[in-house]
């Protein structure tokens, strides 16, 4: 491998590992794309770099600028790494019910944390950041949920990498957060491999974590609506905490992939899909490693205890 000048040069070009021995259907292969291999540890390195570069290119970001972003963790951590290297100040609106490791990583990279109420979850962090952005027009608000550079990073990076490495792909499975991964990869596949079907998994966070006052507090990211939304997907299912943990453990125990809990959810979604297919090749996204979830006991504690405790934590 060539020597690179900066860790930022290591973003993307992530490896794919065959985990077909975990597939419930011998005629369906399942492949894991390890976004956990990005330098700040998650798939969000791609969109953070893409958003910062776009804002630098159009002049929104000037040297020494202050950025503001709502994030349940990974986007914030990725931005923090980049901002530290590029000399920007970063403020992350972070729900209080994320793991201690997420908070510590933000601090390690020098970001300032603005806490948002645990009971309002990610939607509450978005609301607070929007309010702060209105009050501080001098802060640069990249707003991952509405930033074109988010899905574009997957249209120009993740999507082409997958088709290059797995030309036989038939199905793609990823978590639905900002929807950037699914919308961007989906747009690429629609152009270059239109037979590939796109599947979203999501946690049932609304039930436990999100203290919404009404369903009107629900939130659909602008990126999702602008990039095709429901029409760009072929299916979407909830993966409950128990299944997420069971598959997170199978990934580490049977494939040596030490992944985060939402990656277990994506694997659970891939396995469910595999059961229903005649044959196929599913690629799913391991969006981060397990490091930031050790404190939840997800990997070793009694299963029932873990399921109870992660229902109060945002892990997507």
């Amino acid at each position: 491998m060539p020597v690179v000048a900066s860790v930022l040069d290591l973003i993307g070009n992530t490896p794919v590992v065959d985990v077909s021995h975990l597939s419930p259907n011998p005629r369906v292969r399942i492949l894991a794309k390890l976004e956990s291999q990005n330098p700040a540890g998650s798939v969000k390195d791609r969109i953070a770099m893409s958003m910062v570069e776009a804002a630098e290119a159009d002049g929104t970001l000037q040297p020494g600028a202050t950025l503001l972003e709502p994030s349940s963790g990974n986007t914030g951590i990725a931005l923090a790494m980049i901002c530290r290297l590029r000399g920007y100040h970063l403020k992350i609106v972070l729900p209080q019910n994320v793991t201690a490791e997420r908070r510590q990583m933000l601090e390690a990279y020098g970001a300032e944390i603005i806490p948002s109420p645990a009971e309002e979850g990610s939607n509450g962090a978005v609301r607070l950041a929007q309010k702060l952005a209105d009050e501080h027009p001098d802060w640069v608000f990249l707003y991952q949920y509405g930033n074109e550079a988010n899905p574009t990073a997957h249209l120009t990076g993740t999507g082409p990498e997958i088709l290059r490495d797995v030309p036989e792909i038939t199905h793609f499975v990823a978590g639905l957060g900002t929807s950037g991964t699914l919308m961007g990869v989906g747009a690429y596949m629609a152009e270059h491999a239109p037979h590939v079907k796109m599947y979203a998994v999501e946690p049932p966070s609304g039930e436990h974590v999100e203290g919404l006052r009404s369903l009107d507090d629900g939130y659909v990211p602008p990126v999702f609506e602008k990039w095709g939304g429901i029409d760009a997907l072929h299916g979407k299912r909830i993966v409950r905490p128990a299944d997420s943990i069971v598959w997170t453990r199978r990934l580490v125990n049977e494939a040596g992939i030490f992944a985060g809990i939402s990656s277990g959810a994506a694997m659970a979604g891939a396995a469910k899909l595999a059961e229903r297919l005649e044959e196929g090749v599913i690629v799913f996204i391991v969006c981060d490693g397990g490091w930031k979830y050790l404190s939840t006991g997800a990997y070793t504690e009694d299963l029932e205890t873990v399921i109870d405790s992660i229902e109060d934590v945002i892990y997507f």
Binding site: K44, P70, S71, S72, N74, T75, G121, S122, N123, A125, V126, Q144, Y145, G175, L176, G177, T178, G180, E202, P203, P204, S205, G206, E207, H208, E210, G211, L212, R213, S214, L215, D216, D217, G218, Y219, V220, P221, I230, L233, H234, G235, K236, R237, I238, V239, R240, I314, F316
Partner: protein
């Protein structure tokens, strides 16, 4: 044909559903079941469906954890023992 399904009510809507976290209802489709739900608890109606009778944008309805927008929407058939879950759309990232 009518089947009995379990409907999970999200925390945010429980005050409008007699405090219940789940209710047993009958119907042949998800739409029947939702119709019966808002019949029993009229306060839920405007939260769940719009004037045209479609599921509102910020609401996701799942049959056995599958989003019904990718099935036959409210026309999706239900069978005995199925589970219908109603959840608000949430952000992530």
């Amino acid at each position: 044909m009518s089947n009995t399904v379990n409907v999970r009510i999200p925390t945010v809507l429980r005050p409008m559903a007699g405090g219940n976290s789940s209710v047993e209802l009958t119907g042949a489709t998800v739409g029947d079941v939702v119709g019966e739900l808002v019949g029993v608890y009229p306060g839920l109606k405007e939260n769940l469906v719009d004037e045209a009778g479609a599921v509102r944008k910020f609401v996701n309805v799942y049959l056995n954890d599958e989003d019904i927008r990718f099935l036959e929407k409210l026309e999706t058939a239900v069978t005995d023992g199925d589970e219908v879950a109603i959840l608000p759309a949430v952000a992530g990232g």
